[in-house]
């Protein structure tokens, strides 16, 4: 088995562990939601600006 095979075996293990234990997913989702909430005003402004300049 190659180095790529080792990586694939370890990735499969990590995915199975995460799917079953769900230890990382909640904190990752919380981080994503927090980042979106913090950056939402900038994103909205950016989209609005894009429409303005495009129109």
């Amino acid at each position: 088995m190659s180095y790529a095979g080792d990586v694939a075996a370890l990735a499969r293990k990590d995915l199975l562990l995460e799917l079953r234990a769900k230890e990382t997913l909640p904190s990752m989702l919380l981080f994503v939601v927090s980042a979106l909430a913090i950056d939402a005003p900038k994103l909205v402004a950016g989209i609005g600006g894009g429409y303005a300049s495009g129109g």
Binding site: M1, A9, K13, L16, L17, R20
Partner: protein, 191 residues
């Protein structure tokens, strides 16, 4: 052949052990005894190359395969026995690993539960799986730290069967040496 002269290990100001001399020929059985906290586990970790000695000289065979079973079985609790052993078998690049895994699971009484998560196992069943893990790649040197931990009478009988196998070098640490005393060819007793 494992050879050590004046082997010592410290953690900061705390001396774990010092002045360990050892000559363990291939096929020998080293029994390490002593009470809790006397340095047995640390010596095994040094011999397994998981920790570096602070002082002294240690000579280990260059390309010897090692199996190390510590206080924990070191298997993934959210995976099944079959998934655990398949993962380790792949990483060890074992040929015909399916056959070997099946044989070990049968031998240690885990075949019927091969698709169940390890998290649901008793400590004794996890110890059996830990033994499967260390035997999977047929290591030439086996380092077992308190291998009788949590094993019931049937598990202990299985362990006796493992000890009876020829062609391996053994290092076994225990605070209850009675079961393996008669197998020992070398001894280190920590106070």
């Amino acid at each position: 052949m494992i050879s050590a002269r004046g082997l010592a290990k410290r953690y900061g100001d705390k001396r774990v052990f010092a002045g360990v001399d050892l000559d363990l020929p291939d096929g020998g059985f080293l029994l390490v005894t002593g009470p809790n906290g006397s340095g047995k586990t640390t010596l095994l970790r040094v011999l397994a190359r998981l920790a570096a000695p602070t002082a002294g000289r240690l000579e280990l065979p260059e390309r010897q395969t090692i199996g190390y079973l510590g206080h924990e079985p070191l298997v993934y609790r959210e995976l099944t026995p079959l998934e655990n052993l398949t993962l380790f078998g792949r990483l060890y690049r074992l040929p015909e690993r399916g056959e070997r895994i099946g044989m070990l699971l049968e031998r240690f009484g885990l075949w019927e539960v091969r698709h169940e998560r390890v998290a649901s196992f008793s400590r004794g069943m996890q110890q059996r799986l830990g033994l499967c893990r260390v035997l999977l790649h047929s290591p030439a040197l086996l380092l077992l730290d308190e291998p009788t931990n949590a094993l019931d009478a049937a598990g202990l009988a299985l362990l006796d069967g493992v000890f009876a196998e020829q062609g391996r070098t053994w290092v076994v640490a225990t605070h209850e040496p009675g079961r393996v005393e008669h197998l020992a060819t070398e001894r280190i007793a920590f106070a």
